[in-house]
Point group: D2
Chain length 386, copies 4
């Protein structure tokens, strides 16, 4: 077990944009930042409504003068303070990601951004070029599912050839929370996530389809070359897709299927990945994240569990407790924060290092995936190149 705080004397100063009262993902980011003791939340633009921004900040113990309602003002003020934030977490609805990220990148502050990166591919590419100009600046995108220890193990196992050549990738992400027209009730999450103006043109596709695509790519090491996609809005009146299914073709002749749905009755947060290679297969289920099935050809399936000594080192580095002591969603999310703290400290010390977490290039590829799916769908599921 690694109690990471042992080697990290000073927590990084963290700010947050979005995540005020009633938000979901902001709370997750705060727990994740806290869990390993690497961050201290000291400032926020938790809401654009001044009253709400102040109240939300007070609940989190922020000093009143560091509760902002304007994220641009926050970026400037914090950049000017000697004790200003070193990292900002962006947890607003998707349509604001680009503008907020720009403001903090310009202010020289490292960024943790919730996914999807932006609502358009153009915006994502814009961020990428901005950051390219500032090599010392770090950017994390919270593709948290790929931070599970066993997903890191899986990636390492594929990369080291344990599966042989990958032939089949099956990934799915099934939820049911939008099976009814929840947005019609005014529920906050449902409202913004089904509003193209706030979430972008992709519904389930952008919200969870991009997670599935990123995870499949992260583990298989393969980027689809072409795809053919069919989108549906099952719930009457819904303005974005709530179900997407995609056929994938890879450069090495591998084939894949991806489906994501927010109307799959009875499913909570069922992200599931199966990768079949010529020598072995891997199966993983996010709802049972502490186990990974490894199935070598012609041999019994093996149940790998988080914490096993025989796993690739990448898994051990991302684990806090021994086998049999389940870790979950928050720990994986915290892993992004923990690893990013190392990225940031490298930057602060002038050390070059490859990023330890998903970043802008993942975000760009996510938007390319979304754009290709929408394009294929618009052509009656014709094959389109990525």
């Amino acid at each position: 077990m690694s109690d990471h705080a042992n080697t990290a004397p000073r927590p990084l100063r963290l700010g947050m944009v979005g995540g005020g009262q009633g938000a979901f993902i902001g709370g997750v980011h705060r727990i994740a930042a806290r869990l390993d003791g690497q961050y201290q939340l000291v400032a926020g633009a938790l809401s654009s409504d001044p009253e709400r921004a102040r109240a939300s900040g007070a609940e989190l113990g922020l000093a009143p003068e560091r509760c902002y309602s304007d994220f641009r003002a926050m970026a400037q003020a914090e950049a000017a303070r000697p004790d200003g934030i070193e990292v900002v977490a962006i947890v607003t609805p998707n349509h604001l990601h680009h503008a907020v990220a720009c403001a903090f990148i310009e202010a020289g502050i490292h960024v943790v951004c919730d996914k999807p990166l932006t609502t358009t591919l153009a915006d994502a590419l814009d961020l990428q070029s901005r950051l390219a100009a500032r090599p010392a600046q770090r950017f994390a995108l919270t593709h948290n599912y790929s931070a599970y220890p066993l997903m890191r193990a899986a990636r390492a196992m594929v990369a080291s050839g344990q599966l042989g050549e990958v032939r089949i990738v099956q990934v799915e992400y099934a939820q049911d929370w939008l099976a009814e027209p929840l947005e019609a009730t005014g529920q906050k999450q449902a409202s913004w996530r089904t509003d193209p103006a706030l979430a972008g043109p992709a519904g389930a596709l952008g919200d969870i389809g991009t997670h599935a695509a990123q995870l499949a790519e992260f583990v298989s090491g393969l980027t689809p070359q072409e795809l053919s996609a069919d989108l549906m809005s099952f719930v009457p009146g819904r303005r974005v897709d709530d179900h997407v299914q995609v056929q994938l073709r890879y450069a090495n002749r591998a084939r894949g299927l991806l489906w994501a749905s927010q109307v799959a009755t009875g499913e909570e947060n069922h992200l599931r990945l199966r990768v079949y290679g010529s020598r072995a297969a891997l199966h993983w289920d996010q709802e049972q994240p502490n186990e990974l099935t490894f199935h070598p050809a012609g041999e019994p399936a093996r149940r790998l569990t988080r914490g096993m000594a025989s796993l690739p080192a990448e898994a051990g580095a991302a684990t806090r407790t021994p086998g049999g002591h389940p870790e979950g969603y928050l720990e994986a999310f915290a892993q992004i924060y923990r690893d990013f703290a190392e990225d940031v400290r490298d930057a602060q010390a002038g050390r070059e290092s490859p990023p330890r977490v998903p970043g802008l290039s993942d975000g760009v590829r996510g938007l390319q995936f979304v754009e290709a799916v929408l394009r294929s769908h618009a052509q009656n599921a014709a094959w389109v190149a990525l």
Copy 2:
């Protein structure tokens, strides 16, 4: 528990075409026919090689004069005997199904045919028109997976509206026995199943894809309206597909995915069906056939087990032992035989009754599915109508 023999004093006289030494499915049919005591095997054209036909028949206790090497001769001779067979089981390679079925249909003998029905849609339609002219004659196609008690329960539950409107159908059938070029070793099963001349133009598609399609249709009650399909032969030199993936669109706007593979490393015989409706979902896995998950929206998932009193009557009628006493593949296969015995006795008694088992129309739809998949694939996975 139903010990069916109680009401059925005389076993039906059964013949078999194919299924000699070294065959697989012939043995399954014989066990299935025996299990409920409804049939007695009395004749066979177990091989077209006279020596082998005789030897195979002797092993099964057949009288020498009823061991044929020519199925046409068998059909005529048996039809002429006062104690001739009443039912024939066709378990040859696929390319012979049509000719054998014709011979026994013409001889007035009821037919149990292994699937797929034929290798071409034209042949399937030909059989259908032949049988249409002989209303008293019965024909069973061994789509055995839909004979599992819980699949019958599932069908009844969908039909009675317990799922609401079906929105999503996910069906998959994964095996790995052809992950290597087994046909190159001369292995009998692999050789004929990958030879287009014997198995037809469809490999995994015809062998197991048709099972998946039939099961999805059987349970959901929906027939696809359009499909878009991608086929692969992963193993170099293979002459038929060993992996198929298909997008499905249904008339009621439902969407589906079907994939079948014989190169999915580590998978034995993994047929799995999930149907999501607006009110509930059903999940089933052939490798754990004694349980069915029923997931009503907003409520905990329920584990339905074979043998439960609360299941639809269709399930109870197809079960032999109480809950917790697992039944499996052979029992489901036997169910086809047991039900078909009732069909045949109805025919013999001049009783009209709807068929209790899959038959020619299922076979025709199966070939239509195969033909549409091949057509779509030939057009780079364009949508084609069924």
Copy 3:
């Protein structure tokens, strides 16, 4: 796959005592005898009520002159016929096993007896001494759970040292069908099984506890040296135990726990065995009989499935279908019959061979177990020697 009929030209002539209309286990024996084509049922004393015996026999296609109501008359008459039965299946309530077995043993007819062997240890020992005098006569006791292919594999794995020294044996058998006073409703199964005059002094202990004890011994290869047992009758008015829990001590210092209950709400037929050795462990669950978990120390658990080529040969010999084609309770039960047919043919041919199935010695040890449990319980769960 082994289609056993291939080598067995003539089915054995089988008779049955008990198993008339309304019985459960009689039907199971008949299916089991039929499944592999090794037996033909030709005579029966299916009921002691002549009318019912005749009606039950007619349903099973027995000739009227071979439908007996007196098992002693049946034994004599069949022994005298040139085409008399070669094997009898005893499926009466427990209290008759001894008398029926005596009659057929004396008549020189091979016996398949449902378990428990008898209701008293004295009776069991009596049978043992009678059979000792007739070495050519064969006797099978249907401890069907140990005939599952993976239980045979497990036994072979333990015997070959794959587990190292066995340290811990955990076995449990949980049902719930007697959670309510079902006997008060007149239900036939419940009535005789809770009546000490018919079932013997042991309730759940005799009915299912003996299965658990036999299976644990079969796999572990260990016989308990001492036990300490606590019995309960949870349902008011019940005259036999409906729950038993037992601590076990083995000669090699291993420890064990056995519990069996017929009031474990929600459990259907949950027989589960875990054996932990110094080098590895095995876990098995009768409700998922096609898989066996093998857990070597310090390595990932492996999922062994019925049909795998790498299993011990004992498993392969007891399997009919390839992996992924589930076999179940009836196939395991049929395995007893299939193996016993070989035993009987050996006897008929004058070949000596070790019995292939559980027999009198298992029955005697079962009664010794029951007697020891009752003795311990009578002494407030004191340790008693077996």
Copy 4:
């Protein structure tokens, strides 16, 4: 989701005794204290070795003057500071719990103590009487497994009568990390846990058996009246038990079995509880802590998942993320800390409230259990009263 920090402006000042470099449980306590933002670690006697105490403290960012090597000095110094710690976490080996707890209780500092409470029942009772004299002082014992949301749900379900009368309690806790003589290698955890001078006279019994006993009691609401216990040390030379099995009798005639083992090959941290009542049963497995099986008599089993709206309120209050976002061991551990913060704030505000977490009475009952097991074992597993 409850982001608890929202209502809790000021973190409590926390000290720690034990938990220096190389310790396991100290790190768990620190993560648990941090996760919900309710505590700030400001002082520690992390080791009795001054050098190591200082180094360990520095790694955790403690000021040098608050890194103590003598816990008594720490208690006095911190009590005297205006910004002294308000809560101390005791994570030393078991034999020090009593002395450390005394020191901080006398200093008026609230205590979180790892379990088992003490190594003798007398010490436990002594602590209980000391605390009885200080009603405003709060004491938490980290029986973390009962803090899982679904265990709180289970307790509430039993208490509200959903199971009817509890009849059978099956609890087991299986690990394998002591299957080999690990203590002979000098491994720190193994060494002190198998040393009676440091861990007390109970090995697996004290370390994990007490967890199993507490969980069974917590959920069932039943305290055993009598028990009969058998202990083993399978590993040669081991000075404490590494395997324990116990029969339990409850006042309401319920029966139970408890077994705990640290030599169960292949098991990681397998704590499993099953409670069968007259109306329903509950099953839970710590390695899959986000699901709870509820099995009402005569109905399908239901899979309850953490986060479901229909669960008892006690579960919802202990959950941070929606269903399908797995929480685990650290979150349950953190729950003790989060709830105890409320206890402490109540005490600080002079509010009386029932304790929200396990405390001294649980610790005393745990020691009574240990004492009774040892007493029974010394009498060859005779029944002894608790």
